[in-house]
């Protein structure tokens, strides 16, 4: 990886340079919270944002997208075109970049790449931004507190300067043209080491570090704990809406009001939605909220690991805030701490 240093004052000119050729989306403040949104000026970016309500996932996998348009009279497809906007996701934290890397595994790198996702991903640059952990952050547990790839630039704040990791030629050219990137001095390298250590030490250590959680979940699949945890589920699907890696979707046909033409749409679905596992004939093979919550936790902390060698959870902590019933992966980790203590007696 190539590293360069720029001054903080140069950042607006970098953003402006991106804005010439791309739609730039970045964290902005809205009604007391932060959200990723299109910016009209570099001043709108809130660089010190803690987290956003939802994640940049929405730019690669929109909550609602048209896959094709059809004409029912001709019984045929009239248009396959997806709306692709060349875009820069500016200011993504490491957890969110690691989340995009996981979405890439599912939608881009598999045997059957998703053409809609891939087209968006290819037209998207990612500019990462360093952060300090909040009380709900546990990305370090899943090795997601650092982005090793999946970005075009990554800006590590080292005081009034940024150490910039360069991940693509496209972004390097824009950086070169808009700023005066220079070689890092020894002092700056030491500053980088210092902020990295500070970040690593700033996580809330009350959140249990249980690296073998996936294996333990296999062993305790039928523990009453899952009823206790999922019994409080409100069936609202907020968890998956804010999750940067939840990717389940539903496909449906919607007619235009004239009943002649229409669209095939893909919308976000969620395994915590009561009808998610409802099949033809009316059988629901995950009929209770507790079963659905258990399933979701297993996908996040167990199943994806078995298939892709990494957790699907990146520890961003959004669901910790979003769930009004207090259901989140931290509760699963705490359960296994309690379980360990019981066994020791």
């Amino acid at each position: 990886m190539l590293y360069r240093v720029i001054d903080s004052e140069e950042l607006p000119s970098l953003v402006s340079a991106f804005m010439k050729d791309y739609e730039v989306v970045a964290p902005v403040k809205r009604d007391g919270s932060y959200v990723f949104d299109v910016i009209g000026s570099p001043d709108e970016i809130e660089l010190s944002y803690e987290t956003t309500i939802s994640s940049p996932k929405k730019y690669l996998l929109p909550p609602d997208e048209t896959l094709l348009a059809f004409d029912a009279r001709a019984n045929g497809v009239t248009d396959f075109a997806a709306q692709i906007t060349p875009r820069v996701i500016f200011g993504a934290h490491a957890c969110d970049i690691n989340a995009i890397n996981r979405l890439d595994l599912v939608f881009r790198d598999g045997r059957y790449p998703d053409p809609y996702y891939t087209a968006r991903r290819d037209a998207t640059l990612v500019v990462g931004l360093s952060c300090m952990p909040q009380s709900t952050c546990f990305c370090h547990l899943w090795d997601a507190d650092e982005a090793r790839f999946g970005y075009d630039l990554f800006l590590q704040d080292i005081g009034d300067k940024y150490l910039v990791s360069i991940g693509s030629v496209e972004a390097a050219n824009i950086l070169e043209a808009s700023c005066k990137p220079r070689e890092a001095t020894d002092e700056e390298r030491i500053a980088f080491r210092h902020v990295t250590r500070t970040r690593q030490q700033s996580f809330d250590h009350a959140i249990p570090d249980i690296q073998d959680v996936a294996m333990l979940m296999d062993a305790f699949h039928d523990d009453p704990f899952w009823e206790e945890l999922g019994g409080g589920c409100l069936s609202c699907t907020a968890c998956s809406a804010v999750c940067p890696t939840c990717f389940c979707f539903d496909i449906r046909d919607t007619f235009d009001p004239d009943g002649k033409t229409g669209r095939r749409e893909r919308i976000w679905d969620a395994c915590t939605s009561p009808q998610f596992a409802l099949v033809a004939g009316g059988h629901n093979f995950r009929p209770t909220a507790a079963r659905r919550v258990r399933h979701r936790m297993y996908h996040k902390l167990n199943g994806f690991l078995a298939n892709h060698d990494r957790m699907l959870c990146v520890g961003c902590g959004r669901c910790v805030k979003a769930c009004k019933a207090g259901i989140n992966p931290i509760e699963v980790l705490k359960f296994f701490v309690r379980k360990g203590a019981e066994d020791a007696q």
Binding site: R73, L234, C236, A238, A241, R252, A322
Partner: protein, 262 residues
């Protein structure tokens, strides 16, 4: 997919005969249909509208295929109407909060027998033989529902088209909060304010919250609503549980799940 017609090929001969009937309500949901002016001719082109008091004085025909019912059942006469509609129609659609949850009329359901005397010295005959307000679905089987107070015009057309042509769309009974997260609107509970989205059936896209108002539950309690957990959430966020229970009465007074708790 199943339905009455092949999309795009409806004509006067094959179009399903539709009747629209209003019971106890403000007629706002029927108005919402007319409010879809830009789509109205398109919609009328797909059906044979045989009866609708709001549009024509022609009497209700004896035979029809689809009955659309707005309003709550509040009299013996309206109960008989609903039963007759069910008997004659292949498909019955309940539209609006009054028809789907008993809605605003439903607020009077508790201790109903004493209520008329609070208002009238002698109950006028025009009131009919009053019974405790109830939803259409608690009198007869309802095939399709268009929820909300009032209904969304596009939502209404969508449900009508499900009836006409069949549909591959799942009807989700999830509650509202996920929609707020999709909209990325700030949660009222974070501000210590009550919102009924916790237990209310989603599907409107959390419109009110988008406009800065908490959900008042007009789409009705989801059958998957978790009332004990929602009350615990209220406590955790400093919202009085009594306020939550009282707010639920506006649109869910006759809900079986609530009644079962008492």
């Amino acid at each position: 997919m199943s339905g009455y017609a092949t999309p795009g090929f409806t004509d006067k001969l094959t179009a399903p005969r539709v009747v629209v009937v209003g019971l106890a309500s403000c007629f706002g949901c029927q108005l919402q249909i007319t409010n879809g002016e830009e789509h109205l001719l398109d919609v009328l082109g797909q059906i044979d509208l045989s009866y609708w008091q709001l549009a024509s004085s022609d009497p209700m025909p004896d035979e029809f295929d689809v009955a659309i019912v707005e309003g709550a059942v509040t009299t013996e006469e309206s109960e008989a109407t609903v039963r007759a509609l069910r008997e004659r129609a292949d498909v019955l659609i309940a539209i609006g909060a009054c028809a789907t949850t008993a809605g605003i009329p439903g607020m009077a359901a508790d201790h109903f027998l004493e209520r008329p005397s609070h208002v009238y010295d002698r109950v006028p005959t025009a009131c009919g033989d009053m019974i405790a307000p109830r939803s259409v679905g608690s009198v007869v089987d309802v095939d399709y529902e268009v929820r909300s107070c009032p209904v969304d015009t596009v939502d209404f057309i969508d449900v009508l088209q499900r009836v006409l042509y069949g549909s591959n769309k799942t009807v989700s009974m999830r509650t509202m909060c996920g929609d707020c997260k999709r909209n990325e609107t700030a949660c009222f509970f974070g501000k210590g304010r009550l919102c009924l989205g916790l237990v209310t059936t989603a599907g409107c896209g959390a419109k009110c919250v988008k406009l800065g108002r908490p959900c008042n539950g007009c789409r009705g309690l989801s059958p998957d609503a978790n009332l004990p957990s929602a009350r615990e959430a209220c406590e955790r966020y400093g919202v009085p549980v009594a306020d939550f229970d009282q707010a639920l009465e506006m649109f869910n007074r006759t809900d079986f799940a609530l009644a079962a708790e008492q």
